[in-house]
Amino acid sequence: MDSSTLMYSLDLVCGNGLTLSTEQKAALHTSLLILKRNYKFNRVLFWGKILGIKKDYFIAQGVGEDEMRDRKCLYSFNCMDWHLLPLATEALTAEVAVAARGRFMGEPSHEYQHTVIRHQGEGDNAVEEEVMVKVSEEKRLAVTVFTINNEVAVVPRGAYIKSPNGIVQTNRSFEGLNPTEAGKLNNYLHFSEPKNLKKKSILELADLNPSIDFLDPLIDDIPKEIKIHQTRLCFSSLHLYSFGEPVPAVPSAFCSCLTEVEPDVVFCCCNPSTSRFNVLCILRCFFAHHNYTEWSSELL
């Protein structure tokens, strides 16, 4: 969620049990402003926190010109000193998936080690080779944050528009979804590079508005175990959960659930309790309230 509205938007998403203490909120308010100036971000979002055994990570995201692609992640332990996270490349993601196990320790230099047996050659020449994969926790953190963003960042349809030159920006005239619309899954889009959009037929594409429907809608997600549920305390709300049964054999992707808080406010949270990353729960929120749009996420 936007650092400037953290104070009151946090109250809307703490139904899952996690919130920030007053001290942390105050510290974030101060430090994120400085961060925004130093890194010359357009705006800074508080992304969430990842609980570690010794210490907790607080994650912030700086947004540049392009709302979707131009994002940088930073982490901090004390909500004051921020460190840039490395980029999550595909190779790094694969390494982390192999090596990282268990809970986050809360120590960026902590090394996860895992020995993998790789087969080389074929037939009689096959050689088994033991390869030690080492990944530092900082890299794991980067990959985890990236994967969560990639798989479960969700925005309501129309909140972001794509300009003709390809830049994604917030839609200033977006006023939120009304209660009926908020109950439909095709009104929520994945806020990451579209993967299925190009596979659609021309007939399906004909109905789409190119400036709004440049993302994958949630309704195409697999598995289709999406439940719509309409109550949350103190706000009219709606949860869309897409985490099916925890199927243990398949390392399931991060799953998401969405919540609409009041007709105008939407947030989403996800629970990848069975994911291979062993992150326990993520809370991710989107607010679309009257004239501003922002989103936040929290990871536990």
Partner: protein, 518 residues
């Protein structure tokens, strides 16, 4: 003069008639020409268009169209009630003030949730102040309705479709409604039903499988059933009392991993099969979470001192508050988990807190009919399971996959003078406990699943049972070929011939003998 006045009156009359004609509504559009002309002329006066005479037809048509447009909006608002409106209706009752005649100044079991909210917020946990306030109101409703001695906000369990707010209560002595009689009745009925089925004409083959004797349930106010739990989906909705937990449910709950749906009557589809529905599963998970994560600062509770029976019973199972508890220094309690102790009994592998010897019980039951057998083979006396005793420090907790089970923290890094300590469970994500001065509290807000540290592998079904013992008499053999058959026939014939020869020989010998005798 008269004629002129008469003529004028006549004209007036005619005009009035004509006006009445103009005012006559059309049967088609329900408009009349008079009003229409008034509107058109009024429009001409307002707009003063150039060459008004040329555009008068257009103006007229436009005026007519505008009239029609107005009539279009006769659609009524579709009454749509959102679920939030329904919920608001139900929650309204929470905010009613019940004015009773007598002011109840007596001690109320209502917990101080406001204080809890404050402390939880300091440690970065909570549901938001407004929700906590509603929960407090809901708990007040519960306390007003039930004769409770103790009530505590246990926590919140999140589910796919809805969440559960859980209250942990203890009834006042003797005022608890008994439900157990009803259950027994049900069992009796089931038995009768079984007996009835047996009378049918064509009896089905009966399985000689005897299920292992179920581990007996722990009675109220002890072990896993020490407290009674009430849940509700949202504050303001009715509180539902959860049934008591049985050891079988706990054992199965340990082997499965299911998210809660939010409906108490939802079936639990799992392997191994869970005995009961979601209400039972919820109760089993609550028992497991309580046993694992209910902790207090060391010294807050002491063992109850019972006269006479010291040292006799190995594990003492009840604790009471220590009146001399002074509170623990924050630095000390934050430094290591050994300053915290469990105050709820550990649940054994059997699914009970107090171990019960199953073998002994079955022996007693079968004593009459199987006394001799017993003498022959004495069943192995099973080793009694022993869990860690009450008030064991957290540092003794077992690690799971190199994950320390608890993380200790301090609420504020900057102002340590007023900070307080809290612990977070790493095995049950969402379980927290804080201690501030003489106060402490436990809370659980989470999905009700235990941390595994690795991918979960469900229990595999047992290998299929063989239908019959496989042996040579039922093993299918190859059919003999023609040659083999003929060979066998020849061999048999030879045998036959040999036998016959023998017989003949024997007969001859016998005859000879007889002849000799004669």
């Amino acid at each position: 003069m008269e004629s002129s006045t008469e003529a004028r009156a006549d004209q007036m009359q005619q005009a009035a008639c004509f006006k009445a004609f103009l005012l006559k509504n059309s049967t088609k559009t329900n408009l009349n020409l008079y009003d229409h002309l008034v509107r058109v002329l009024a429009r001409v006066m307002d707009e003063r268009p150039e060459n008004a005479v040329d555009v008068i037809e257009d103006l007229s048509r436009e005026v007519k169209r505008n009239m029609l447009l107005e009539k279009q909006s006769t659609l009524r608002d579709a009454p749509s009630t959102t679920s939030s409106e329904l919920l608001a209706e139900q929650q309204r009752a929470l905010f009613n003030r019940w004015d009773r005649g007598e002011h109840e100044e007596m001690e109320t079991p209502l917990p101080n949730v406001t204080e809890l909210t404050f402390f939880l917020e300091q440690i970065g946990v909570g549901l938001g102040r407004e929700e906590m306030q509603r929960i407090l109101l809901a708990l007040k409703q519960l306390v007003d309705m039930q004769p409770l001695q103790r009530c505590r906000f246990w926590g919140k369990i999140l589910g796919i479709e809805g969440n559960y707010i859980v209250a942990e209560v203890e009834y006042r002595d003797g005022e608890e409604e008994e439900e157990e009689g009803v259950e027994e009745m049900h069992e009796d009925k089931e038995k009768e039903g079984e007996a009835g089925e047996e009378d049918e004409l064509d009896p089905l083959p009966k399985s000689n499988y005897k299920p292992p004797t179920p581990v007996p349930k722990e009675p109220r106010h002890s072990g896993t059933n020490k407290f009674t739990y009430f849940v509700c989906r949202e504050p303001g909705l009715p509180w539902v009392r959860l049934p008591d937990v049985t050891p079988a449910q706990i054992t199965v709950a340990r082997q499965i991993r299911k998210l809660f749906t939010g409906r108490l009557d939802a079936p639990i589809v799992s392997y191994p099969p869970f005995p009961g529905n979601e209400a039972n599963y919820l109760r089993a998970q609550i028992a497991r979470i309580s046993a694992g994560t209910q902790v207090s600062p060391m010294g807050f509770y002491v063992f109850k001192e019972e006269e006479g029976e010291e040292e006799e019973e190995g594990a003492r199972d009840s604790v009471e508050e220590n009146p001399d508890f002074e509170g623990i220094n924050v630095q000390e309690i934050a430094a290591s988990p050994s300053a915290w102790v469990h105050h709820i009994q550990h649940i054994l592998v059997q699914g009970r807190c107090v171990w019960v010897n199953l073998a002994e019980k079955t022996e007693n039951l079968q004593e009459e009919d199987a006394e001799e057998e017993e003498k022959e083979e004495e069943p192995d006396e099973p080793e009694p399971e022993v869990g860690p005793p009450l008030l064991t420090p957290l540092s003794e907790d077992a690690e799971v996959n190199n994950t320390p089970p608890w993380s200790t923290r301090i609420s504020s890094n900057l102002i340590s003078q007023y900070a307080f300590a809290f612990v977070r469970s790493n095995l049950w994500p969402g379980a927290y406990a804080y201690a501030c001065g003489k106060k402490f509290e436990n809370i659980y807000i989470g999905w009700g699943l235990k941390f595994l540290g690795e991918d979960f592998t469900p229990a595999l079904p047992p290998p299929p049972q063989p239908e019959y013992p496989s042996g040579p008499e039922i093993t299918e053999a190859l059919d003999p070929t023609l040659q083999e058959e003929e060979a066998l026939k020849e061999a048999q014939e030879e045998q036959q011939a040999a036998l016959e020869d023998n017989y003949a020989m024997d007969a001859e010998e016998e005859e000879e003998e007889e002849e000799e005798e004669n």
